[in-house]
């Protein structure tokens, strides 16, 4: 029951080998946090109101209920940005005197079973003096709006402003200005495994092991040690099998800090498994933005200047470690997208409201800004009476390296090539003919395009530019061939479904001449992995992959030195393949396993010329690169019901060198599904009092197999020169391009009705409302 990884001859990189992760997961042997037994269970008592002052918390007789009053000396979660007028606001790990959103943890009920903890939590008497909440981003900006935090007057917690010097002059000379008022409603990343934590105290060492659903085990350790004022050496964080994250498990949950505090207090084990309702109301949200975008074009429909105003509703607190600046500031930095223009103005604000805290979610701001920019392009095409493909041809960047109006350097991309690939593959003329024919019969088909770039694999300079107090970026890999002859790579990344153990094994196999089945990639345990930043932002294959290659090259060099001594040949004459070091053109060889054993046990034979052992470390901190793609959606809109069916989805993408095509395609598929959910189905809805109306999976609706169209993928491989493996990340691209393509297709289908849908999700209600309004106006 092993992965099919045996074989020889071909290089391993580039092959669709089966994943080493699969056998355990397929047989029920995966180990997720909630699988662990605990002596104590926690149920969090959460605020039922959006804003107010706590006047009473009373526990039932004899029950253990922890509140902020018990947590003396525990610091607040206070992430920091040193730029963009950021206001530091702190979140107590249990609400202290004030509540700021429905679902905020107020108290922790502790009992011997999950059920008993729930029973206690139900009996906790919680009295809150309600105050008026504000839940909408624009409403929070209105003068006199309720203040969410005293530290951020006017509710603006972060504000970026940018303007190129020539902006006004260029704007004045425009032939046409096109505008889009876009609205992206709030989403929840909704990993199938909600959050879970298990903290266990070891009386012999005083250490606590926190096993939890996280994408960033090391930073979870650093953060909780900081909050509780304990040495990091006393805390071990394990990310076991993690059931998806998509960014939601990147931000630090207050709940995990409470668990560690409790394990130390009780000197025992304490667990919490989030239920789906908690996940939907109180785990992290995202994508809640208003974006107003104006484009100034010359008479040939060439974009000259872009002006953007971004209002991101970031919720009640700021997420750790990125801060809530991540959405508005990414919108400002990456709004220019794949288009060539030199004048740019942007104002991007993060606004506090009495809603669940925002955190990164697959693509972060880019699904929203791509949707907005691609709507602008389609509206401009209509204004100039040209085809949507044509306006993109006139404006896409085609000379590299290219420095954007914002100052980002695009090393290499294939925007035009992927657009042309997509246009050819989808056969636009044939579609237009079919569309006309079907329209005549009352069936409304539409086609939508999205061209975009996906910034991936960026190192510390990119994060430092945002002024982050905690600057992630690099990663480290420790690669050993141990005395058994087996290979272990211990990595700082923390994959949770991406198949990174398989992809990295492919990179190592090629470099040191062994097969992937003798390679074990270890991650997600701060006691065993080198300090690292975890898995997020389409970074792991680029950065951990790069660090792996660096470490593997060092191991290779050492193997060649050892082999040259053992085989009495020049290092340059030795080849490493199929687990052997061979002298080229002879029959002299030695197994790599034997060399490894001697590197530890026969060091005297190397006369002090070779250092003992066979372990090397690689760290990598790249400048970053950009993947790119063109997405095309074909939809059918039922104008009677407002229902949209996505009939087909096509992708032409370029993510540099592909390490494992099977895994790469899976990433694109998954992203597109989330993007289609974003465009059509998924919305967290707050009522006027700040209560959540979408607290189960019947109301908050991720797509099912029924909603998914067949996806056709086309690949280009433009090797990246800024990534030493030549690979670019592609984990987020699917979710970045899909919403724009789908919404553009809906608008294309509805052209005869003269309606514009600039809001997502484009639910049947919204489409019908737009159609009704258009009928009324006509």
């Amino acid at each position: 029951m092993t992965a099919h990884t045996k074989g020889s001859g071909l290089k391993w990189v580039g092959r669709a080998i089966r994943r080493v992760e699969d056998p355990a997961l397929l047989t029920g042997q995966g180990r997720f946090t909630a699988d662990l037994a605990a002596a104590h269970w926690v149920r969090f008592v959460r605020s039922p109101v959006a804003a107010g002052k706590i006047t009473k918390i009373a526990a039932p007789q004899g029950a253990m209920v922890i509140t902020a009053a018990d947590l003396k000396g525990v610091k607040k979660i206070t992430p920091m940005l040193h730029k963009f007028n950021y206001k530091a606001v702190g979140q107590p790990i249990l609400a202290n005197a004030v509540v700021r959103f429905v679902g905020e943890p107020v108290a922790a009920a502790v009992a011997a079973s999950e059920e008993a903890a729930e029973d206690i939590a139900d009996l906790v008497e919680l009295i809150i003096d309600e105050t008026t909440p504000v839940t909408d981003g624009r409403a929070a900006l209105v003068s006199g709006a309720p203040q969410v935090h005293a530290e951020a007057p006017g509710n603006v917690i972060v504000e970026g402003n940018f303007k190129t010097p020539d902006f006004d002059a260029v704007w004045k000379n425009a032939a046409k200005v096109v505008k889009v008022d876009a609205r992206s409603r709030r989403q929840n990343a909704t990993p199938m495994e909600a959050r879970a934590g298990h903290a266990s105290y070891d009386a012999s060492t005083g250490r606590v092991t926190l096993t939890c659903g996280t994408q960033m085990p090391h930073l979870t350790r650093t953060a909780i040690a900081d909050l509780l004022g304990m040495p990091e050496a006393d805390l071990r964080v394990i990310a076991p099998d993690v059931g998806g994250g998509f960014g939601q498990k990147m931000a630090l949950p207050a709940e995990y800090a409470v668990l560690v505090w409790l394990a130390r207090k009780l000197k025992s084990s304490v667990a919490w498994t989030e239920d789906r309702r908690e996940n939907l109301i109180a785990s992290f949200h995202s994508r809640d933005q208003y974006v107003t975008l104006e484009g100034a074009f010359d008479k040939n429909a060439k974009l000259l200047a872009l002006r953007a105003d971004v209002v991101a509703n970031v919720g009640a607190y700021s997420c750790y470690p990125t801060t809530c600046g991540v959405e508005p500031l990414m919108a400002m930095a990456e709004m220019p997208g794949p288009y060539d223009f030199r004048a740019y103005e942007c104002r991007a604000r993060g606004v506090l409201t009495n809603t669940c805290t925002m955190a990164p979610y697959r693509g972060v701001s880019r699904p929203v800004i791509t949707f907005t920019l691609e709507r602008l392009m389609d509206k401009a095409a209509a204004a100039f009476a040209i085809d949507p493909v044509d306006i993109r041809r006139r404006n896409l960047i085609d000379k590299f390296p290219y420095t954007s109006a914002m100052g980002l350097v695009y090393d290499e991309a294939s925007y035009r090539e992927t657009l042309e690939m997509a246009v050819k593959a989808i056969d636009v003329p044939a579609f237009r003919a079919r569309q006309k024919q079907e329209r005549a019969q009352g069936r409304h088909l539409g086609i939508g395009f999205a061209t975009f770039s996906e910034r991936t694999g960026y190192g510390s300079p990119a994060f430092a530019a945002r002024g982050m107090d905690i600057v992630p970026g690099w990663d480290t890999v420790v690669l050993s061939v141990d005395p058994s002859g087996y290979v272990e790579a211990r990595i700082g990344s923390s994959p949770h479904g991406q198949g990174l153990r398989t992809s990295l094994a492919q990179i190592i196999a090629d470099e040191i001449g062994v097969t992937p089945d003798v390679i074990k990639v270890t991650h997600g345990d701060t006691d065993r992995s080198p300090y690292g930043w975890g898995t997020f932002g389409s970074r792991s294959l680029v950065i951990s992959g790069g660090a792996t290659l660096i470490a593997a090259r060092k191991v290779r060099a050492k193997l060649l030195t050892i082999a040259s001594t053992m085989l009495e040949a020049a290092a340059g004459d030795i080849v490493l393949e199929n687990g052997m070091a061979k002298v080229a053109g002879t029959d002299r060889s030695v197994p790599i396993a034997k060399m490894a054993r001697e590197a530890y046990t026969q060091t005297h034979r190397f006369k002090g010329e070779i250092e003992p052992g066979l372990t090397e470390t690689g760290s990598y901190d790249p400048p970053g690169t950009f993947s790119n793609a063109c997405h095309v959606a074909i939809v059918v809109v039922d104008v009677e019901t407002g229902h949209v069916t996505v009939e087909k989805f096509l992708v032409a993408e370029d993510a540099g060198r592909i390490i494992n095509p099977m895994i790469a395609e899976g990433q694109v598929h998954g992203g597109i599904a989330q993007g289609i959910g974003n465009a059509l189905l998924e919305e967290i809805v707050y009522d006027e009092n700040g209560g959540i109306l979408t607290a189960n999976l019947a109301d908050y609706m991720p797509p099912t197999a029924r909603e998914m169209p067949p996806i056709e993928l086309h690949h280009m491989e433009t090797p990246s020169t800024t990534s030493i493996t030549q690979a670019k990340g592609l984990g987020e691209g699917g979710s970045i391009g899909a919403p724009a393509a789908v919404i553009n297709a809906i608008n294309d289908a509805l052209t005869p009705f003269g309606v514009q849908i600039d809001e997502m999700p484009a639910t049947p209600q919204r489409i019908r409302a737009a159609l009704r309004a258009a009928e009324k106006a006509a």
Binding site: T27, Q29, V242, G499, T704
Partner: protein
């Protein structure tokens, strides 16, 4: 809190004598009282299907059934699918077609698909799509799950 009821759950042919409160769901009993943690819980309200197991030949949401209701019935979970070291054709097809990423929803999809195909081996592609839309997956976009189940269906029919 209420008194516990004694019952026997038969999981993958093995009897587990347990005592649970009447409110204990089958999903919790399988995982916590019987220690079979391959069955996962994704929503506890019958939408996501991660907890799907086969009870007397039918795929069911084990979060919507009480443990006491399953006493005396034959329960199959993901741990019972493989035959020793040989994967069930459905498991093999998921591996060959990359039908899983994080693997959390996978046991539910496997049991759903196996349960339906054992009952209805000649199910049409379109009906199969309806069946598969009973469960949620957040990683794969379903493309490769659909491919895997169709491949396994073919393999299972051939036997």
């Amino acid at each position: 809190m209420s008194a516990k009821t004694e019952l026997t759950l038969t999981i993958n042919g093995r009897d587990h004598a347990i005592a649970v409160e009447p409110r204990r769901t089958l999903a919790d009993a399988i995982r916590e009282d019987c220690g079979q943690t391959g069955t996962h819980i994704g929503c506890e309200h019958g939408i996501c299907g991660a907890c799907t197991v086969i009870v007397d030949g039918e795929p069911v949401r084990s979060c919507l059934m009480f443990a006491v209701q399953a006493a005396g019935k034959k329960i199959r979970t993901v741990e019972g699918l493989a035959n020793g070291d040989t994967l069930h054709p459905m498991q093999q097809a998921f591996m060959d077609n990359h039908g899983l990423q994080c693997g959390f929803c996978t046991p539910g999809f496997l049991m759903l698909a196996v349960g339906v195909l054992e009952r209805e081996p000649d199910i049409s592609d379109d009906d199969l799509l309806d069946v598969l839309s009973s469960n949620l997956c957040r990683c794969t976009g379903y493309q490769n799950i659909i491919k895997a189940v169709r491949a396994a269906a073919k393999e299972m029919r051939g036997k």
